[in-house]
């Protein structure tokens, strides 16, 4: 079966231990969670968990059924292949040198990155994009000397269907 990246989003009760149960559904079946994002929703009793995992194509059916059985899960949505907007936030800390400064700043402008702080020899960038784009940007900057990088993992919302 084909392996593909899957984006799953869940509404869950905002309680201790819930994340652990969800992680157990993945780990006990040998799936690795690639990214994970958890935050409260408008209702403080409910959290949204968005995660990505690489798995076989029958993954959704099997894992979703297992997730649906967890008492603390309110709903499970699979974003894979559905019309949706997906974004992740990435912070990149770069070393600046006399030689690379001009090229780096040109690329910052080109990619539409936001400069968070900048000193003579150091620069922190904030990038918000879908994960293909963040990956491409990171790849571009790597040869210049990435000191540190951190990213949130994807979050997603459906593209609303417009009625009428």
């Amino acid at each position: 079966m084909a392996i593909e990246e899957r984006t799953i989003s869940m509404l869950v009760n905002n309680q201790p231990g819930v994340l652990s149960r969800i992680a157990g559904v993945f780990s006990s079946r040998g799936y690795n969670i690639r990214s994970l994002c958890v935050a409260e929703t408008i209702n403080p009793e409910v959290s949204r968990i968005t995660l990505t995992s690489r798995a076989e194509s029958d993954f959704t059916e099997k894992i979703k059924k297992q997730l649906d059985k967890l008492v603390d899960i309110i709903s499970v949505t699979d974003f894979t292949g559905a019309p949706s907007v997906q974004r992740e936030l990435m912070l990149v800390s770069l070393l600046l040198t006399v030689e690379n400064r001009r090229e780096v700043l040109r690329a910052v402008d080109l990619f539409g990155c936001r400069v968070v702080t900048m000193s003579e020899d150091h620069l922190i960038l904030e990038i918000t994009a879908n994960k293909d784009k963040t990956a491409a940007i990171l790849k571009y900057f790597e040869p210049f000397g990435v000191e540190e990088m951190n990213r949130t993992g994807a979050i997603a919302v459906f593209r609303q269907k417009r009625e009428g």
Binding site: S20, R21, S28, K62, K65, L70
Partner: protein, 553 residues
């Protein structure tokens, strides 16, 4: 006395209809033990927490009600783990209560502190950590609701000592629960399954443990009779329809009946009721029922298609689904199919002496003949299990209890205690090997203390028989770690526990000894000495298909 958390626990348990708890106390359970004392709930003091969990499991299997066990924190809680896992694997409805250290000590490695919720997460349907005295009632109500509904299973409630002791006011009354919705499933799919079955030339029904769990045994019997279709069972499904029913072909799988395995292999249509098709039932999955269209009915969506490809899945309550199916079935006489099964039954029957169970089979048959018809047999694990499930005739559901999924040695003795407590008007016989007998031997003390008239049959071959058989067949008879020896006088041990006991050699006629056991008013142990070279046949070698059975060395 002021009302405290423990009173709320007792009150909620009473509301849920709990009559018996199997437990073992510790410092942290004391508030609860104290308040249980004056209530109508009987607390059975076991001799080990594993025994408590198995007893609750046996109680649930014998009655269909939710079994309840109680232990303290730390070692008490971890001792229950095997029992909880056993219940989980066979979907037994159970509520396991563990006391926890005071909530201000959490995470400090306090005395007897352990994260039992974390430990049991993969082997429970759900668990509750009670953090507030006002959550006690709702946590327990939800625990019982979850344990006993859908695909039933164990639920754990962890409750700290300070919350058991906390003063509290009256709790909101239990709202009358809405009757649980029991959907039959998609009517169009039911129609399709009925049509496929009616059209088929070589149909077989596979009955799993879910039929008993879903209280659908009478419906399954009606279905078999209406459809006139032969059925096989999984080990957990044995007895759902009486084993003496003419359409019964036996049970499938590793140690199943050859007729059952061969018939499934030839079938063109399979209707699976409440089974997840574990590898124990299917053996080599690629070669299981290669010609069949498979319809599967299960209350649990994750069980459908979990192990095999299913053509006609139906998520629904088995009892309701069968009720919807029965009027749609066109009964047909399938002469060629019946003739083929009849011929197979004859030729295969001749291949095995005593059904492949040898001396032990004879022993079990004679025991059943000497005991009342409604006797419950509780099998342990190993050769004794296979001998028992192949030999014991289940005339009614809940007559044969065994740890099928988990295969827990030491299950039979404590589970028999729970079965007897739950069904005091039925006789109970625990059948185990010398290996499994040792594993929860301390429960002899429980049996003795409460004078539970349980009959215990220890089939003693001085070995771990099933391990020995596998070493003999698949490891070129290099025997290692399977010899137990004869240095322990089990009969004397039983007598030491205050239980009448006797030993019988199987080359003598055991009938008189069996008669003495059957007529004894109290508990009784019969130690039957059998030949260590007596194995169980047929057996399927690892990695082979269900039709590659070995019928002898």
């Amino acid at each position: 006395m002021d009302t405290i958390g423990a009173d709320i626990v007792v009150k909620t348990l009473l509301e849920e209809g709990v009559e018996a708890i199997f437990g073992y106390p510790g410092a942290n359970t004391l508030p609860l033990n104290d308040r249980l004392t004056g209530s109508r709930i009987r607390h059975y003091l076991m001799r080990h927490e594993q025994g408590a969990a198995h007893a609750a499991d046996g109680y649930a299997r014998a009655t269909g009600k939710v079994g309840v066990c109680l232990s303290t924190s730390g070692p008490g809680a971890t001792n229950m783990v095997t029992g909880i896992a056993t219940a989980y694997m066979d979907s037994t409805p159970m509520v396991a209560i563990t006391a926890q250290v005071n909530s201000d000590l959490w995470g400090r490695d306090a005395f007897q502190e352990t994260d039992i919720i974390g430990i049991t997460m993969p082997i429970t349907k759900h668990s509750f950590m009670v953090r507030d005295v006002n959550q006690i009632a709702s946590s327990f109500r939800q625990a019982f609701e979850l344990a006993g509904s859908g695909r039933t299973g164990p639920v754990l409630v962890d409750i700290p000592r300070d919350i058991l002791s906390a003063p509290c006011g009256d709790q909101p009354k239990r709202r009358p629960a809405a009757p649980p919705s029991k959907p039959a499933g998609n009517p169009e799919q039911i129609e399709r399954i009925a049509q496929a079955l009616s059209r088929s030339e070589r149909p077989v029904i596979i009955i799993g443990g879910g039929v008993k769990l879903g209280n659908a045994c009478d419906r399954a019997t009606e279905f078999v009779q209406t459809a006139q279709v032969p059925f096989v069972t999984t080990m957990m499904g044995i007895g759902s329809v009486a084993t003496t029913n003419g359409f019964n072909l036996g049970f499938i799988g590793t140690h199943g009946n050859e007729l059952a395995n061969r018939t499934v292999h030839q079938a063109d249509f399979i209707l699976a009721l409440g089974t997840r098709f574990t590898e124990r039932s299917t053996s080599r999955i690629e070669e299981f029922a290669p010609l069949a269209t498979v319809a599967q009915i299960d209350i649990d969506p994750t069980s459908i298609g979990k192990n095999i490809r299913v053509d006609l899945p139906l998520v629904g309550d088995i009892r309701e689904a069968l009720a919807a199916l029965i009027p749609l079935i066109v009964s047909r006489e399938r002469k060629a199919w019946q003739e083929r099964i009849r011929t197979d039954r004859q030729t295969l029957g001749e291949k095995l002496i005593d059904g492949g169970c040898g001396q032990a089979g004879t022993l079990i048959r004679k025991i059943q003949a000497a005991m009342p018809r409604e006797t419950i047999a509780v099998a342990d694990v190993g050769l004794n299990q296979i001998w028992t499930v192949r030999t014991w005739q289940s005339h009614s559901p809940r007559s044969l209890l065994t740890s099928g999924g988990m295969g827990t040695m030491g299950f039979s003795l404590p589970a028999a205690i729970g079965a007897r407590v739950g069904a005091p008007d039925r006789d109970v016989v625990a059948i185990c090997g010398d290996g499994g007998f040792h594993m929860n031997i301390q429960e002899l003390a429980t049996i003795s203390t409460y004078r539970l008239p349980i009959k215990i049959v220890v089939i003693n071959n001085g070995h771990l028989g099933m391990i020995r058989q596998m070493q003999d067949l698949f490891y070129e008879a290099r025997f290692t770690t399977s010899f137990l020896g004869d240095t322990v006088d089990l009969t004397a041990v039983a007598k030491g526990f205050g239980i009448q006991a006797e030993r019988v050699a199987m080359d003598e006629d055991p009938e008189e000894a069996i008669a003495r056991m059957a007529s004894a008013p109290g508990p009784y142990m019969l130690e039957a000495m059998v030949d260590p070279n007596a194995y169980v046949y047929p057996i399927i070698p690892p990695g082979r298909s269900n039709v590659e059975m070995i019928c002898g060395k």
